[in-house]
Amino acid sequence: MPKGTLHKASDTVLETRGLTKIFGGLTAVNNFDAAIHRGEIFSLIGPNGAGKTTVFNVVTGIYKPEAGKVIFGGKDITGRKPHQIVSSGIARTFQNIRLFQNMTCLENIMAGQHCRAKAGVWSSVFSFSSQKKEERRIREISESRIEQVGLGRFRDELAKNIPYGSQRMLEIARALATEPTLLVLDEPSSGLNAGETEVLMEFLKELIDKENLTILLIEHDMNVVMGISDKVAVMDEGKKIAEGNPEEIYNNPRVIEAYLGTEEEA
């Protein structure tokens, strides 16, 4: 994939226009503009408290913005509910892993297929053939996703009992099971060791190559950011302070300043 190429407007998967989110007196996100293009890995970086996760939460419908718009696939999805946004094709993971702990790994992934299935109460209670067929399909898709992330041996294990690194992958598999066009990952490498991070990076690269997918990423690990991103945006105090390809960001004086500034305070 050529880096830093110009995209046509029709290639835009997700666009935010003047996104603003205020908590009490704190402007967590201030007039945030971004455009993410098809097939790219877009990283959002910045010091702690810069508002990255808030951007994610607004995009995925957990928060409603005070101002601005989120446009996904040409449609305005601002203020829609999380489950509606998932159905429209954005799937996410969380910074602090949120799995269904007391359900099996396979059931966790099957939950992702929920929004792609239709069976209602009556067809489930009377076990209509359409419902059985649908259940089989959900199971097949979930099985293939669990194999894809290499967790087949844990399929009947409770999610809380599997190792931390596997839990991260399971969460990604659950997100993929919703059949998204945009995958939103909030610090996927946090808590992983060097080896696991390597595996994760390879996995994400492979995903982008094989599936019709775009990835939006929050990441602290600079090796990951520089290694796999096509584009990087930097946030500080709720504002976007820089955007460009990884090399440009790496040498941008404002970015260095923002990072060093917080280092001192911390």
Binding site: L99, H114, A119, I162, E196
Partner: protein
């Protein structure tokens, strides 16, 4: 699908047949009194199963479930005595009216979490009871309630009017409910409910309409309680507000807690405990509550997951593994 089976079918099929066999022949060997005890066991099983949908499957604290039970019972009582509609016709009507009632009262409170929802449902249950005592539109008969309710009749000579017939009526309904609920548990709806119980935010982020499925649980739970109310009303031939007190809701809550949240065999055990307990300890009636309280405390200490918690998945070996962080691909 083998994985999901809680040993209720599958490997323990023999045990299941034995239990069904005992249930079928039991009433032919005991007096009417013990048939009635088993009838009330059935009523509590049905109520336990209905509360289990809300409390066990979705994890919503509902301490006003007797309110839905009351709506079902009074719907049957009033429509039967005032308009003469047959009891069996009123069976679905009671279910629907309790369901609609749940939909209306729960819609505005469904976003509340944990203890907050619990407190509001207590209020809801109490308001239902007080409303019944206040005899609105001269329908509920105030503290005396409604009496002279018919027997269920299939027309002609086929009338359910003996203990043994009521026994079979309630247990057939319980069995049908169990079959339906097991299917629901293993469907996308059951999984969505469990996901909400585990993590509401993650459920939403996985594409589950949290609000819809919570309301659905309340409506189905209330409808099933309404069915129990219908049969209860015709069995007693009278209903009065004191049968639907806060205490009743507490008992139902205990059934689910004792049995194990979300576990159907557990609910049956819990219902057996709640309905048979007073009979077994009748000689020590004075100390009954004391023993009951002690049992509850011991339960919470030694078996917090219930007597028969729902089993999911396989072995525990991986929990050992997870302590030794392993790199995996």
């Amino acid at each position: 699908m083998e994985r999901e089976k809680t040993g209720f079918f599958g490997s323990q099929q023999g045990l299941l047949f034995a239990i069904v066999g005992i249930f079928v022949i039991y009433p032919f060997f005991v007096s009417n009194y013990y048939i009635d005890v088993a009838f009330f066991f059935g009523i509590y099983a049905l109520l336990g199963l209905s509360l289990n949908i809300v409390l066990g499957e979705v994890g919503l604290f509902d301490l006003g479930h007797a309110g839905f039970y009351a709506i079902g019972a009074y719907t049957t009582a009033i429509l039967n005595t005032k308009l003469g509609i047959p009891i069996l016709v009123l069976l679905p009507v009671s279910a629907i009216s309790a369901g609609i009632f749940a939909y209306i009262v729960c819609s505005p409170i469904i976003h509340l979490r944990g203890d907050y929802l619990c407190i509001v449902t207590i209020g809801m249950g109490e308001i239902v009871r007080l409303a019944l005592i206040n005899n609105p539109f001269d329908l509920t008969g105030g503290p005396n309630g409604v009496y002279d309710i018919d027997f269920p009749s299939f027309g002609g000579p086929f009338v359910i009017d003996s203990s043994i017939e009521y026994y079979f009526l309630i247990w057939i309904i319980v069995v049908l409910s169990i079959i339906g609920l097991i299917r629901l548990q293993n469907s996308r709806i059951g999984r969505a409910w469990n996901c909400i119980r585990e993590d509401q935010i993650a459920a939403g982020a996985s594409g589950i309409d949290v609000r819809y499925y919570k309301l659905l649980a309340f409506v189905i739970g209330a409808a099933l309680a309404g069915v129990a109310g219908n049969i209860y009303a015709s069995k007693l031939m009278a209903v009065s507000p004191e049968s639907f007190s806060f205490w009743e809701s507490c008992m139902l809550f205990c059934i689910v807690l004792i049995g194990g949240m979300g576990s159907i065999p557990g609910i049956l055990i819990g219902a057996a405990f709640i309905s048979l307990f007073p009979e077994i300890f009748r000689p020590f009636a004075m100390y009954r509550m004391l023993i009951f309280g002690l049992v509850m405390i011991l339960m919470m200490m030694f078996r917090p997951g219930g007597v028969w918690p729902r089993k999911r998945g396989g072995t525990e070996y991986v929990s050992l593994l997870s302590r030794i962080r392993k790199k995996d691909a």
